[in-house]
Amino acid sequence: MSIVLARIDSRLVHGQVLEAWVPFVNADCIVVANDEVAGTSFQCMVMQAAIPSSIKLIIGTLEETASILRSADLLKKRVLLLFTSSEDALKVCQLGVSYPKLNLGNMHSSAGKDRYTCTIALDQHDIDMLKQVEGQGVTIVSQCVPADREQNWHKLIRSGGR
């Protein structure tokens, strides 16, 4: 198993992931690590309906993710791993899943968050979480779609939010 892309995207499975990233990184398996989604059979069905049958979709809780990724089914798969938040990304990392790079895709703005790019909004909690992820040896970058330029997140933070 190799993780070809690990990404935080609050929209999870959507056009940018399926039409842009999947062909670009040549992934044939998408793993969604999210407690809430894994617990809602309706949402699992909607996501499954959006994905062509040539791509395998697995949705699991954060706890399950590590064992899913180690399973024999995924031995030869090129996996695209999706989270919705910085907290989930850190938790999965601490559970022993190692990914070399974490891509920040869409992190929606909400009250108390500062917008750093058109699609990324962070608060202090997010920044703390991401720092811990980085402490595990992960490079963190922001890049919405492959056509955009990849940017290290430190540059983003230094430029300041609004």
Binding site: V13, H14, G15, L18, E19, A49, A50, I51, H108
Partner: protein, 250 residues
């Protein structure tokens, strides 16, 4: 309490309003006003002129999906409203439903309509145009809009009639796989168009048609460059300047 039924006139209004979904598309909340605008005839039939504040709040929140899939979402959302008003407890409430389906349905619509139907219809139109037919734009519009206009209408009715099960029906249609078939057909038509133009070019310059095959690796090279992110503008400039230079030199 008995469940409120929406009239066909309400559905017609919603169908027509769906063409205005993105009139106020904005970076802040994307299609929020548009979605409320689309739902309004239905909400008025359900709640009368005084729509409760919580209903107003939840249907004017951040929303974004593929425009052709919005009638389906509106159909189900309205049905869930009437069901919960009648005292039934649907497995998913209308607000959660919207949040759950908007992104996956957007992905489906992007792949099917923007990635599948549109290029295929355009290629058919272009093949006709390259033969000099003035009907090409009409054929393109008909080929694209037949599925488009039907999909909006069927989506609305399906979403309302089957509520949450509409997604199951959608899943059975395997639309993402259909999109891949359409893209493969488009790829074949691109090959046909390129061959036809190369052949005509050779014929015009009174060269053997074998020279037409020279175009094949060039097109593949350009396609590879485009895949790597080289812009169309750059490829156009490259082609034009080299051809003009050749014309000026020889």
């Amino acid at each position: 309490m008995k469940e409120i039924r929406l009239s066909w006139l309400t559905f017609l209004r919603i169908y027509l309003r769906s063409f205005l979904l993105q009139a106020s598309w904005n970076f802040e909340k994307l299609q929020n006003l548009g979605f409320f605008y689309l739902m309004l005839p239905g909400l008025r039939s359900i709640y009368g002129d005084e729509i409760p504040a919580d209903v107003r709040q939840r249907h004017c929140a951040y929303f974004n999906t593929h425009p052709y899939f919005a009638p389906l979402v509106a159909g189900t959302t309205l049905r869930l409203e009437t069901l919960s008003l009648a005292g039934e407890e649907p497995a998913v409430d209308s607000e959660t439903y919207k949040k759950m389906v908007m992104a996956p349905l957007a992905a489906m619509g992007d792949a099917l309509f923007w990635g599948g139907v549109r290029p295929l219809a355009a290629l058919v139109g272009l093949l006709m145009a390259s033969q000099g037919s003035l009907w090409a734009p009409v054929v393109f519009l008909v080929l694209f809009n037949l599925p488009h206009l039907l999909f909006r209408g069927i989506g609305l009715i399906l979403g309302y009639a089957q509520e949450l099960k509409a997604i199951e029906t959608l899943q059975k249609c395997r639309l993402p796989d259909l999109a891949i078939r359409l893209k493969e057909s488009t790829t074949i038509l691109i090959g046909v168009l390129c061959a036809y133009l190369s052949f005509k070019g050779c014929e015009h310059q009174e060269l053997s048609a074998a020279w037409g095959f020279v175009q094949l690796p060039i097109v593949l090279l350009f396609a590879w460059l485009a895949h790597k992110g080289v812009t169309s503008l750059f490829l156009v400039l490259l082609t034009t300047s080299s051809l003009l230079l050749l014309a000026l030199l020889f």
